[in-house]
Symmetry: C2
Amino acid sequence: MPIQTNQSLSVDCVVFGFDGKTLRALLIERPVYNTLNKQKLPGAMILENETLSEAAYRVLEEATGLQKCDLYLKQMEIFSDPQRVNGDELEWINRKHGINTTRVVTVGFYALLKLDKRTIDYTSAKGAQWVEVESIQRLAMDHKLILSNALGNLCRDMQQSPIAFELLPKRFTIRALQRLFEAVFGIEIDNRNFRKKILSSGFLHATNEREKGVAHKPAEYYIFNKNAYQRAVKAKLKMDFIDNWRY
Amino acid sequence: MPIQTNQSLSVDCVVFGFDGKTLRALLIERPVYNTLNKQKLPGAMILENETLSEAAYRVLEEATGLQKCDLYLKQMEIFSDPQRVNGDELEWINRKHGINTTRVVTVGFYALLKLDKRTIDYTSAKGAQWVEVESIQRLAMDHKLILSNALGNLCRDMQQSPIAFELLPKRFTIRALQRLFEAVFGIEIDNRNFRKKILSSGFLHATNEREKGVAHKPAEYYIFNKNAYQRAVKAKLKMDFIDNWRY
DNA sequence: ACAAAAGTGTTCCTCTTACACCCATGA
DNA sequence: TCATGGGTGTAAGAGGAACACTTTTGT
């Protein structure tokens, strides 16, 4: 079997947003072509002289209007099944790009962003939709698999680093943060214990500002104190750094 | 900028083994060519009709003589810098394979195996070496970067799943398990607390067999009880996430 | 008998968990 | 005044960290 030479490499992005209640992903519609599934993840072929993450940022700016600095991007698995794109789907891709490839290998990314009105307006204008992740049934090609993968990665990463804040506005309530964890992990969290733990971490800064116009006791807004977090990480390593030396 | 069409896709594997004291990685020697670095990771170009993990298993069987069932394989990042292979290195690759590619994108894998005599004999016969990971200074292309990446992945994964046992023989002593953690994490662990914790987990099964011919009290052999582990996994998702945050 | 590594218990203290009521606001 | 969700404390138990000596074997 010869070395594969006429393949193509693409990126596909699972873009997550949080609306305060449920986790959503951005899906784009494509013109119907034969019996193919209409909804797909935002993605693109890699260009010459472009890294994969550059390609991913290009896709994300096109899809959301947001720049690199407003997005959290993480590479996941590579999907390389020789049959993952074939038949009508392969024909669709070749026709769309005016190329003639026999195989497309894709690199999955997931992105996190703050789902504000401006972004929703932008995506709506492009005919894209923010769909509740739980309710997504079928997608084009193997994009459902990529989505599942992204959700697994998100769960794992949210247990290890404070990326939850990438999905929340700069000012947020503790309840919103809790609901985000509950939505992603699919669990219920005791509110008293959650507040105790998250506040005692020292990573949240109370703004002294409160919700307005809500028909209940207004919640206080907090801000994630990234510096305090990074200081804490360093302090934890402080005494261990000799042991932890890695070239 | 047009879509990249004449690239190649390869896999590179960081193969870890544990000799009872230190963590080692398998490096292969290549014939010297100009001023290129001689040592590199085992790797190969992807073939037509082959997935990336199939390619990785092919590389691993070639390098170690071991089959899929005797290896733990995990995909990591993809390395896609357009300049990651160029100049003499690119020429070396094109000459070696009789192809004419302008860009090579590679997917990093790490593999874990049980480092027994048979495997060491096999790799020695091929001129490959098991080098202490701590002492590896320079490698061909960006393979040093890939190795660093693999070590980071291994550290992370070993904290989250019982892959440590993939590096130990079926029967092992608790001391050996402890030394493995100490080697990978670069820390010292209190032996009494370690025994208490690992034994109370219920994942180890005592064999009632002991070391022979050692000049000290012989240690008992244990076996990892995978079923007990998998049963335990289903029962928990804790609020540890705040403590474990790392960027 | 000695050298070398295995194996063993207790205490203290922190962190986790479970649990129920009052508060501030808009309608 | 009622409906709604925000915000608070305590007690019991589990789990983690620190710490030193005895046991078994080969030489």
